[in-house]
Symmetry: C2
Subunit: 201 residues, 2 copies
């Protein structure tokens, strides 16, 4: 029963996502979403308070997928610097993938703008925690020497603002890949432990 | 004669700036601007093709002021790392100063959006060149060891996207100051020459 409910909710989200990506947020109506999802309009309102609420749930789902790609990239036993390289590249390309097939990128961003703050805070915390964990891992292995991993993780991620939406909408995958790679290399030396012990002033 | 013309152009820009900052872009009319500047509406059209053109000229003037503050911060004979610290802080606070007294920040940004690309390219190049010059100075002094100063300058500046408009609109001066300072310290080690000669791989 709960499973069938979940299935309906997913179908509504998937219908909304594909309609909004194809036709844009403003042109997509609740009727369109219901028809595509194969449910009655009233059923949608059992799950969501309205179109903005659906857009927010779509954004959450996308962001969760990004965080999952970061988690996967940070798993395993590669050296911490390599994990940071992979993870941030995975993250920025994951964001790119979400928007690459739609001409309505900015419209989608604008749709969730009124509730952007809660969304951003929640996922910023999740992303920061994943990066901080890798930094702590690097500290433990003696590769990094970072006194405040959470603060460092926040600054590290902030440096990639240009390569995440909505700023990155319009950049090619290649531009994101190259810009991200150069940024990582500019940030990493500050995290590294000096050979021969803690060389931090 | 040319001087009097310049004076009129400046008066129009100043009138537009103060009206747009106070009442917003949409609510400001060409009539308002003419009245405030003490000229006839026809006179405005001798200088500008319309409101968007005035907004663009205002944006250019603001950006030139930012670049000037960067130039001043990079003058003198402080060590190159210190110059970079000062320069990027001056820059980000200068951008903050422009928007801090207006509730219409995003509206102002949106006004020049259709011609944003040309504006951004022009000033990105100017900013990058100022930073690259300091990096070359640091190279010459043996403080830095950077093989591609222009590329490094671009990556360096990109890291501060979060602290420049429109992304920084809503941040306090203190948040910009703290975030900028932490970012500089995360970037600087990658530029430094290793003691005892070029240690770059």
């Amino acid at each position: 029963m709960a499973e069938r409910e979940d299935g309906k909710r997913e179908a509504i989200l998937e219908a909304a996502r594909s309609l909004v990506f194809h036709y844009g947020y403003r042109k997509t109506t609740m009727q369109d979403i219901a028809r595509r999802a194969g449910v009655a309009v009233g059923t949608i309102y059992a799950f969501f308070s309205g179109k903005e609420d659906i857009a927010l749930a779509c954004a959450e789902k996308s962001k969760l997928a990004v965080v999952e790609r970061m988690r996967r990239a940070s798993a395993g036993d590669a050296p911490a610097p390599e994990k940071l390289r992979r993870m941030v590249l995975e993250r920025n390309l994951a964001y790119h993938d979400i928007f690459k097939d739609t001409p309505h990128g900015m419209e989608i961003v604008t749709a969730v703008l009124p509730r952007k703050e809660e969304l951003i805070k929640k996922f910023e915390t999740m992303e920061r925690e994943i990066v901080a964990a890798v930094i702590r891992e690097g500290n433990a292995a003696g590769v990094f020497d970072v006194s405040e991993p959470e603060e460092a993780a926040e600054t590290f991620l902030t440096a990639f603002y240009r390569f995440t939406p909505p700023m990155s909408i319009g950049l090619t995958a290649e531009e994101i890949r190259a810009g991200t790679a150069r940024m990582v290399e500019m940030l990493l030396p500050s995290l590294l432990a000096r050979p021969g012990g803690s060389g931090k002033p």
